[in-house]
Symmetry: C2
Subunit: 347 residues, 2 copies
């Protein structure tokens, strides 16, 4: 295990700065004394875009590549046209660094508010493909702006891309007590991609006889996520379906204030990036109102990815304890929550 962490930090826009500060506090507090943590802050996001027109240059990407991992707050601001920072920074980085495993755990902790009645059991992870599907930017427009405009979006799916993420998901399912993996797709309509996903899934399944498998159409999956979320253990799915169902999964399991994610390159060829699922929330930025929990849980994913399993578990235990008690506490600021978590991981 490396006894130093060279971390790229991208606070980004809106509440990004605030939540990342708390994430770093917890990270520093939980690391053993002999682990040297070095951080380099980068200024990506709306401000940089307005000042220079840049979202992520080649030199930026080269600089980021040199780090062990990346911690991101949030990117996006209403002053920037929709899509510019998303495609110019977030997605660009996922593609450049081949972040094909987009990992999004959902766990409803006791006492945490959910819009669902009856506090159901929720404890699953979604393994979302991160580099293919309708996210590749393939497609185009003809006769733009005329009554005869035609716009296409091409979902690209390769056996190579599908197999590696399906394998990752099977390995994760195998390592969990319930050992259950559900493929979510829409293979009755999207027959070309659906056949590839289903076929690869069934083929890899043969190597994991202990893993129970299951297939659900994405539309039906949204029903189960609100009526029977306990049925899910590990879900593997396409980039777009994963985008949609993980927002819903976050909503039912405590809200996007506590939803963490990792954009992972399992080979380690490029650094992986960890970020809360939530956005930059400009409406509450700078007021100390943001919940840093999602970022702190993303730090736990980061620690686990770098091999610090004990420390990852300690961070998760601290968050669990904090959330469980939260309902009985008065409202706290962003940094007060961070401070409480620091005390817990140290203690």
């Amino acid at each position: 295990m490396s006894r130093s962490i060279d971390l790229a930090v991208i606070p980004g826009d809106g509440i990004g700065q605030e939540v990342v500060a708390e994430g770093l506090k917890v990270l520093s507090a939980v690391l053993p004394e002999d682990v040297k943590l070095e951080t380099t802050e980068y200024d990506f996001g709306a401000k940089r875009y307005h000042a220079t027109g840049e979202t992520l240059t080649d030199a930026d990407a080269d600089a980021l590549k040199a780090h062990d991992a990346i911690l991101l707050g949030a990117i996006g601001d209403p002053s920037v046209p929709s899509g510019v920072l998303e495609r110019g920074f977030l997605l660009k980085l996922r593609f450049l660094f081949d972040h094909h495993v987009n990992l999004r755990p959902s766990k409803l902790l006791p006492g945490v508010a959910t819009p669902l009645a009856g506090q159901p059991e929720i404890d699953f992870i979604v393994v979302r493909e991160g580099t293919e599907g309708p996210y590749t930017g393939n497609g185009g427009t003809i006769r733009k702006g005329t009554p005869h405009e035609v716009a296409t979006e091409v979902s690209v799916n390769t056996a190579y891309g599908v197999e590696r993420v399906v394998r990752d998901a099977f390995a994760r399912a195998q390592a969990r007590p319930r050992k259950k993996l559900t493929l979510v797709h829409k293979n009755n309509v999207l027959a070309f991609a659906g056949h590839l996903w289903t076929n690869v899934f069934n083929k890899v399944a043969e190597e994991y006889p202990e893993v129970t498998t299951d297939y659900i159409h994405v539309d039906a999956a949204t029903i189960y996520l609100v009526t029977d979320p306990a049925r899910f253990d590990v879900i593997v799915t396409d980039n777009l379906f994963g985008d949609i169902i993980t927002d819903l999964a976050a909503a039912v399991s405590g809200g996007i204030g506590v939803a963490a994610s990792g954009n992972i390159n399992p080979s380690g060829e490029f650094p992986s990036m960890f970020e809360p699922v939530h956005g930059s929330a400009p409406d509450i930025a700078g007021q100390g109102k943001a919940d840093p929990t999602a970022t702190v849980l993303s730090v736990a994913l980061l620690l686990r990815h770098l091999g610090y399993e004990t420390e990852a578990a300690r961070v998760e235990a601290a968050v669990t304890a904090d959330l469980t008690e939260r309902a009985s506490l008065p409202a706290r600021s962003t940094s007060e929550i961070g401070d409480a978590l620091v005390v817990r991981v140290a203690g």
Copy 2:
């Protein structure tokens, strides 16, 4: 108003037969005496497919075309490979008959069970595009079954197709008390299609100054559907996003047992088709356990489409009354629920 209805009836598979029988009972009961109802039953579905290999022939389509409207129960059976009946019958018909307005109302009635806590207010309709997007069957596969397979799915979006459904949605929003229309898309990632949808939406909005408009990404829309469904009045969206969010909408507003839909060709060039959102539920078929409410509400949409507004409202009122009292009644069979609704619409 035509004083006769020439209806094509497609019971289909599983519970289809049972629920359609109740739908027809209610339809007969609510129609004024001078309206002649003629029905022709068609045998589409799994049985026909197994016997003849056919899903929908040219002659079938010609026969269906001659009717004023179509009432469908459910199509689909585990004995038929996934996609065969969906693409060979359901989608084929939507495309052949240019059912570009896929109408799906969601209303949570008092007393009706919802997975959401606190019985929120839910009363919105989704206008889902029905003939474009990723549903066109465009795309393909190369090197099938090899480690080098590439499968694509092409979402096709035309100004013509988007504008007509957006216009329909604006007209519906204008006619409702709240006059609010939300566009749901993913224009920050699917930039080609997203630009077309957003642009057309904003252009048509200028003609409807009284309608309040709103844009939400599809992932965020799933969050609002469980945390703040009251924010929605009318939603207009793409074929695939509509498929996904209407299942979720059905789940939160009483379940797919009460979710109705219309596949509408507003020009009347071809007959429109009305069907419950639920599937054929083979596990409970033939047991009198299916809830016919979704089919009966689809009959209300059918009546409204054919100009029988008073009768449509009477059916909806009967269902509302029935559902509101249901919690206090012992469980009833499919036909008992149908009988109760017949009494109510007649009374």
